[in-house]
Amino acid sequence: MTPPTAAAVDHGTVTVSAPAHAPKGGIGHFLSTYVFSKDHKVIGLQFLFSTLVWFLIGGLLALAVRWQIAWPWSDVPVLGKLFAQEGGQMAPEFYTMLFTMHASVMIFLVIIPILAGAFGNYLIPLMIGADDMAFPTLNMLSYWFMWPAFILFGASFFVEGGAASGGWTSYPPLSTNVASSPSGGWGQTLWLLGLTMVGVSSMLGSVNYMTTIILMRAPGMTMFRLPMTIWGMFITAVLQAFALPVLTAAGFMQLADRMLGTGFFSPEGLVVNNAVPGAGGGQPLLWQHLFWFYSHPAVYIMILPAMGMVSDILTTFARKPLFGYRPMVYSVAGIAGLGFIVWGHHMFMSGMNPALGITFMVSTMMIALPSAVKTFNWLGTIWGGRIQFTTSMLFALAFVSMFIIGGLSGIFMAATPVDIFIHDTYFIVAHFHYVLFAGTAMGVWAAIYFWFPKMFGRTMNEFWGKVHFFLTFIFMNGTFFTMHILGAVGFPRRLADAYHYETFHHLQPLNAFMTWCAIGMVASQIIFAANFFWSMFYGPVAGRNPWNANTLEWTAPSPPGHGNFDFQPVVYRGPYEYSVPGCEKDHLMQTDPPNAAAAAAALASH
């Protein structure tokens, strides 16, 4: 993956990576180095590129959805032809497919793999001072198991009836009953198979991450000297390891319902589209329980690593130690623990016993707590710092700012009576887009701008980076904040056309505004793409530690060769020793040998 210029970057330094980069002939070598590589960095970049491409596809799907919401049934420009529908207007079942696949792609092919897969892979060994993952082959497999998923999801768009259209939650009987929806044919089946593949990939990854983080830390790197990024990744891995089996099992049950005619999720006596399903005796709610038992923890899988990375970036550019390192670690662990007992809050309206609803409501209220703690600590971190407004820092600050909104709007849904009204309305859509897009995606961009120099040996263009940030930030809020208002009117999700309801008739202009913002948001990503690829080859060459950061990866060459470190890193202190009094430079790297002053200060802090 590493560009040819890379060798030039770290000439002078004794680099283990030289042989790896020496031009070796042979397609076999090419394959083993760039395609089926077992090097965690190559795999990480493979994940990064794949997920960015799916990010684009998911974005285009979102645009198509927005178009229909803003101007229902009107001729769709450019993409209209794809739908192959008479008069260029999209058919309702096509719309359901659009939002189903938008969510599925974004969650399973973008957010989860880009956090754990891309950054987890790239950063874990570097930040703990290991030369690679514990199980390089597993690691390679975890990437190549994504490909069946890519192909299955991609292919499902072209099978008869189109891709899955049962919502990303795939609630039965709509999803299990072949007759109940156009995608009842292959789309839904391919979707389930793809989902399973993503699960396998994540599982391989999580096992690897846990082992690596526990066993392969550099000398002196105690658990409580780990950067928050690693803590985020670690907890995520644990979550995946415990939650995924449930989803996989549930997925297979649904497959069985579809293909073998078992009746896990369909009760007796259905008449769907004049077809009487074979077996009965099941319970639709069972799927919801199993699904959310995974998918609620998955919500944290989708944000914890971002929280970790943001913590590191904030400290770096505030030039200040992280405020409350241990509380941060505990709150991450707390989120993970509570995350397993709140799934029911997705089901308040589902017909589940209302008494059970109360239990889940209480636990859900409680999970807001660690999130609050983290937010306050981030604020504490930049308080009294010396803030450098790099693009990366701006995205990190945006993460904090947006995560506050996403977190607070969650309280509305946690309150069961209020949820009666806003459940399945745009209030929810606003909420999780603030957490996942305005939150995680900001974190991801922060991370990309931050670790890009390490990945490619060059820094991204700061000016265009800031333009990209500015536009994204504006349009993002234009798109998603207004969704709260829609939610307050009770505007339901997933409606191809809600304006024939008197209650929602007047909301079209607002939706049109949001769609324009969404278009702007997607358009501004062109800047990012251009900046990204241009800088990859022509950006200013970065040294080993362009940001004067403390963590281990910055001691390695940029980009690091195979084996990562050209010396054996030894860790003397925590990752956040910035602006230590009486220390000549404003940061003490984890590997800097302790001199009297610094040591005094460092030790004082522990």
Partner: protein
């Protein structure tokens, strides 16, 4: 990033979040982009709770976002010359900002239980006023006929056009023929999924007469959006008159004098 203006610029950008955020919520009602009219007896509780949480979160939102802005503004490396504070955290602070939210949230949790119980747990002891069977993609309604019980030959069968009496408890027996649906009455602050294989009771009491939307709020297939119903609340007398008329229509053995008019009537 040595530019002294950048801190101010970005600070203001982040200040815009709370300012515009609050502004949006403040002006939305003026444009009727707000909670729809509530005609139920229990809705007031829910709305009150909504406003309470809105106020609570609003305060926290403004406070934190302004703090964020203030720090960005004040601690810009380009404008401040004092070194960054070397501090690893404060135990007292951690305790404070753990206990206070915890207490608030716990209070919130307990405070709302009653409202929840009213809507979902304290079922009035009565036989169903009407059975609503959701189906792709319509609401099939079944009123007990003269014999007052469902499932007999004199049931009254209708579609999408739900009529209910006001000022008295009504019990809707909610079922689904095929997939999940959700019985959503925005103006009554009622939402309940219809689950195939389950009979789920839904009850409420309307205060005002009028016509309102019935919306399906759970994805039920390609026609989800067109699963539109209408509920008409009217005084007992008119309600029964309407039942009678519909029943007579259902029993018709002769075409109405002019089909056009009789259709216009309903």
């Amino acid at each position: 990033m040595r530019n002294r203006l950048s801190g101010i610029f970005w600070g203001l950008l982040f200040l815009a979040v709370p300012v515009l955020g609050v502004a949006t919520f403040a002006i939305a009602p003026a444009f009727d982009h707000w909670l729809p009219k509530d005609v139920s007896t229990h809705g007031a509780q829910i709305d009150a709770l909504f406003y309470f949480i809105l106020a609570l979160t609003g305060v926290v939102f403004v406070a934190t976002e302004v703090a964020l802005f203030w720090f960005i503004w004040k601690y810009d490396a380009a404008t401040t010359d004092r070194p960054a504070t070397y501090i690893h955290g404060s135990h007292t602070l951690e305790v404070v900002w753990t206990i206070i939210p915890a207490a608030t949230l716990l209070f919130l949790a307990i405070y709302q239980m009653n409202a929840w119980a009213d809507v979902k747990m304290r079922r009035p002891d009565m036989s169903p006023t009407v059975e609503v069977v959701a189906r792709q993609f319509e609401w099939r309604l079944r009123y007990p006929g003269r014999d007052g019980e469902l499932g007999t030959q004199d049931d009254l069968h209708l579609t999408n056009d739900l009529h209910l009496p006001i000022d008295e408890d009504v019990l809707v027996q909610l079922k689904s023929m095929d997939v999940l649906h959700s019985f959503f009455l925005p103006n009554v602050r009622i939402k309940q999924d219809a689950v195939p294989g389950m009979k789920i009771p839904v009850w409420f009491k309307a205060r005002e007469a009028g016509e309102f939307d019935i919306v399906c709020a759970e994805l039920c297939g390609w026609g989800h959006y067109k699963m539109k119903g209408r509920v008409t609340f009217e005084p007992r007398a008119r309600f029964e008159a309407w039942l009678e008329r519909k029943y007579a229509e259902q029993q018709a053995t002769q075409p109405p004098p002019d089909a056009g008019d009789s259709l216009a009537a309903n």
